[in-house]
Amino acid sequence: MRPLLVLLAAAALLAGCGADDPDADRPGGTLTVYAAASLIDVFERVEAAYRERHPDVDVDIGYLSSAGAATAISQGAPIDVFASADERQMQVVADAGLAEDPQVFAENVLTLAVPEGNPAGVTGLADLAREDLAVALCAPDAPCGAAAERLLAAAGVTARPDTYEEDARATLQKVELGEVDAALVYVTDAAARQQTVDAIEVPEAAAAANRYPISVLAGARDPAAAQAFVDLVLSAEGRELLRDAGFRTP
């Protein structure tokens, strides 16, 4: 009786392996990505494309402020891939010896966002200095805040913000709620919320673009799955998704 059982078990095992065999080189397991809040819409589509190609990988993408993500990763969060909204926060991770090979995959510029219908009659950057307007900017530590500082300095405008929001999406949310009259947000964010937010193009913004780097992180649990995600973002398909969302691609 005993040998028969062993045989059966072995057969079952072999059958199990057989099922996986046709795609033996395909990555399996789990993949956890931390991505800048401004990437949420486009990375949801990238995630869908990734799942299609790697159905056996359990993908999980967390969207948070780049600075918050960089801190968490530097403190040892078990993350496999980091996509930052600027190179400064990627540098934080690189300084901790955790970013393997950061590559810039997109650029994003700022725009003026106003509540639908532009109730305060905002026309350009100079309006951010108006005292009677409620204005939101990203906190200077957030990539969108750093970009806003560069942009305002280049344009010679001294903004009078009422609040410094923690990241790009929090800033946008204040516009969507109609609680501020104007905010500097990414064009991609404004485009993603066309129904509730109007965008006023800022010609000077092109010079203050943010560069988005992505990198597999040291200690990725499944380096192949992580690299496949980075490759997808950098691929022609990934670039097209990014351009559709309003990003510029290198």
Binding site: A134, E166, L177, G178, E179
Partner: protein, 266 residues
């Protein structure tokens, strides 16, 4: 008040010690990691003093507001015979279970420029609340007042209502009874509730950053400053946390001695 020393029953000792370790170790971790050399520099930062002052002022105002509104509310919950009291109690404790960020969004929907009450305030008086220090106080009160209400209600229920009955039979009106009998009776409970409320208001983060935003000097309280510093410079964030911790502990100890006296210390 001295009782013969009681020995802790064995089955309580281990979990109690674990409880202490669980609560105190993170604090120790904070102290061990604190770059003490930065302390003087951080304290000299005008932004830090500003945030600390704003935190203390807004938490104190929130506590005052909670006392004015919360003590009467606790009385209603504990003493009135009105129907629907249990529903009322559940409703006023909602902020305890609500994630503070959701509380902040809810405050927008009522008091924001587009909010039900806020839009009227804006149209009629030109008053806008979000992104002001008033918004900080409102957000903190919203989150912290239930702590006071629950404490005071508990004290009222535990207080012997026969004192109030006697006062009434001696001819005291209901208001006089409340002022002269009930209030002194539950004073320790009110003080404990106020301390709890103040501490919760001081640490408030989610509703504040959502509803009041974040601007140095106006709405950036210490917890917001700590959170944002954490993204830039974790060492600075630790120093700020220790400062907030020291100031709040000092205040609580001072108040305990002054307000609660021996009764509170027992």
């Amino acid at each position: 008040m001295t009782r013969p020393a009681t020995r802790v029953p064995g089955p309580l000792l281990v979990p109690a010690a674990l409880g202490v370790a669980f609560l105190v170790l993170p604090l120790l971790g904070l102290l061990v990691r604190t770059p003490w050399s930065q302390l003087a520099g951080q304290l000299a930062e005008p932004a830090v003093g500003q945030a600390l002052r704003l935190s203390l002022v807004s938490a104190t105002l929130a506590t005052a507001l909670s006392l004015v509104l919360g003590v009467p509310l606790a009385w209603v919950l504990a003493r009135s015979r009105a129907r629907g009291r249990s529903v009322l109690r559940a409703l006023v404790t909602v902020p305890l279970v609500l994630p503070p960020v959701v509380g902040g969004v809810a405050l927008f929907l009522v008091l924001g420029r587009q909010g039900i009450v806020g839009s009227w305030l804006d149209d009629a008086f030109g008053i806008t609340i979000p992104f002001t220090t008033a918004a900080v106080v409102i957000a903190e009160t919203f989150v912290a007042m239930p702590f006071l209400v629950i404490s005071v209600e508990g004290a009222l229920r535990a207080a012997d209502s026969r004192f109030e009955d006697v006062a009434a039979t001696l001819g005291a009106g209901r208001w006089t009874t409340f002022r002269r009998v009930t209030l002194p009776l539950v004073a320790p409970g009110i003080a404990a509730g106020a301390v709890l409320c103040w501490a919760r208001a001081l640490g408030e983060f989610g509703a504040t950053i959502t509803f009041a935003g974040n601007f140095p000097g106006t709405t950036q309280t210490m917890p917001l400053a700590v959170y944002l510093a954490l993204q830039r410079d974790p060492d600075a964030a630790i120093v700020l946390s220790v400062v907030l911790l020291a100031v709040s502990l000092a205040t609580l100890l001072l108040l305990r001695d002054r307000w609660l006296g021996r009764a509170g210390a027992a």
